[in-house]
Amino acid sequence: MNELIPDFDFQRVVVAPWASDFQGNIWVVLMGFFAITACGLVGQYLVLRRMALVGDAISHSVLPGIVIAFLLLKSRSSGAMFVGALFAAVLTTVLIEFIQKKSRVKQDAAIGIVFTSLFALGVIMVSLFTSQIDLDLDCVLHGEIVNVPLEFPFVQVAGLTLGPSSVVRMAAVSLITAVLVMGFYRQLLVSSFDPGLAGSLGVNASVVHYALMGWLSVVVVSCFDSVGAILVVAMLILPATTASMVTDRLPWALASVPLQALLSALGGFHLATWLNCAIAPAMVVASCGLFALAWIFGPVDGQWAKRRRRRANALPDAVLDPFLGKS
């Protein structure tokens, strides 16, 4: 037992990481925080629109885009890969929509068709061009968050050192996401709740749809080369579902996302320190922990609250007795 799970040593797990290597670790936690915030905010609308798995699809189908960008541009720069991945991501959402609209194929099946095909295509390309591709696919699809602080040189603006480029990029993406979600709150709300009404209110539901898909692509692609695909897919879904157990007002659900992001990023980081395991999956596990708590204790849809409500609403047994002929 002791060999599998190390003892929980408060000093080693909680204090030491910050005392010894604050500079390195803060970037890891911040990266997780920003990535989870961005994914969680966009994911809220995916979940509401019953499109939770589109993010999953995108995170696989970017592979051929990355390979093609690499072959065409002969560059391993993250800029080139970003463009390739983004292109493939947008293509994925358009194809899913196209198949679904033009036939009876339902959305879940359309998602399954598109991303498996594109992923397979990507795998074939990789094996065809292995000789020319010096591409660490593991790193592309399952990037490791521990590498984040090692990205030198740090981004500098006006003589101010901001931080590693991927963290700065992620911070920008999640800030823009928050601004978009707040600015277009009404348009997103009405087109998700009642697309039919949206039209007669002057909100073009399909423009909102494609904008959401486009921005989802940006978020997914800018996350996963540094935090890994599991984290992205999980974080598109988990914060929204956790929030749905806790609140039934959309603004509160959205506001809970950064808080959940902070708790998951910090909790995951310390969990990983404790267990000596990979950090990004540990953040996912921490977020699952939040979900489990909400599932049990959430005041709106938690099991405990529902049970208490059932008890409170049940008639005392004796009330019905006179009507049932008992005395």
């Binding site: 019953r50 709740f193 007669s200 007002r249």
Partner: protein
């Protein structure tokens, strides 16, 4: 294809409004996957009337409303609202969709839903103003739902959900309303409250087009009826249109219950 339906005869002389014909539909054809569901629809709808849209399941009633509102692509024909293309007069249109068309587990409360009716009047980034909230509350009060303003919408009964949709349409402060089965799943008391509300709107000069399934009440509720089954079977004042022959034509062979209704109608008149 000339063995069918007579074109709507131009009844209703009325005060002959000039540009103020709320709705004009010309030769509208809609097809889903090449199968036409509406064919050559011609309508000129006069102002200040409560109009029932009647026809069997699958007749294209919902599709007609969606086509007029630009939610489904039309294959031919055009629609004018208050003498102009739809886009120009969006603010003058209110819409009550079929209740099943939305997800009632959505994390919003009753007031949030009614405030949506005000969105058409807000600028791109503008938040709902005090006055919008007040109007939304007043509309909730009109449908007797104000006590439920802060209730999550999934904790409402079907009839209450229907009233929330109605309040939202009222909040749109429109001149021309489309309502898709506002009486579905509503009890008798609520139904008569709603019809009272619709009549009040009418008396203020609004035009209302209401999809309705209950032939036994259609006659007393509506000033005019649109009998629809892929084509316009007939459109005119209720007393001229609501007769055995035209109802037979509308409902085709499926007339088991309907013959009874028609019999009753005959005896009444």
């Amino acid at each position: 294809m000339n063995n069918t339906v007579p074109l709507p005869t131009p009844h209703t002389p009325g005060p002959a409004p000039t540009d103020d014909i709320p709705l004009e539909v010309h030769d509208l054809t809609v097809a889903y996957q090449k199968k036409p569901v509406l064919w050559g629809i011609d309508l000129v709808v006069p102002a200040g009337k409560l109009i029932g849209i009647i026809g069997p399941n699958g007749a294209g009633k919902s599709t007609l409303i969606k086509a007029i509102l630009g939610q489904v692509p039309v294959s031919a024909g055009w629609v004018k609202v208050f003498g102009e293309p739809l886009k120009k007069n969006l603010r003058r249109i209110g819409y009550v969709p079929q209740r099943e068309s939305v997800d009632w587990d959505f994390p919003v409360n009753v007031l949030d839903v009614v405030i949506m009716g005000r969105y058409g009047r807000l600028g791109l980034f503008q938040r709902p103003r005090r006055e919008d909230v007040d109007i939304a509350r007043a509309c909730l009060d009109q449908v007797k739902m104000l006590p439920f303003a802060n209730r999550q919408i999934s904790n409402l009964s079907g009839g209450q959900q229907q009233r929330v949709f109605l309040a939202r349409a009222l909040a749109q402060e429109a001149d021309l309303y489309f309502m898709d089965e506002p009486f579905a799943g509503v009890d008798a008391a609520t139904e008569s409250a709603i019809i009272g509300l619709l009549q009040e709107l009418k008396s203020r000069g609004k035009t209302l087009m209401v999809v309705h399934h209950d032939l036994s009440t259609a006659k007393e509720y509506f000033d005019m009826l649109l009998l629809l089954n892929m084509r316009v079977v007939s459109f005119g004042p209720t007393e001229q249109v609501f007769n055995n022959e035209l109802l037979q034509k509308t409902y085709g062979g499926r007339l088991t219950i309907l013959t009874d209704v028609a019999e009753a109608v005959k005896q009444q008149s």
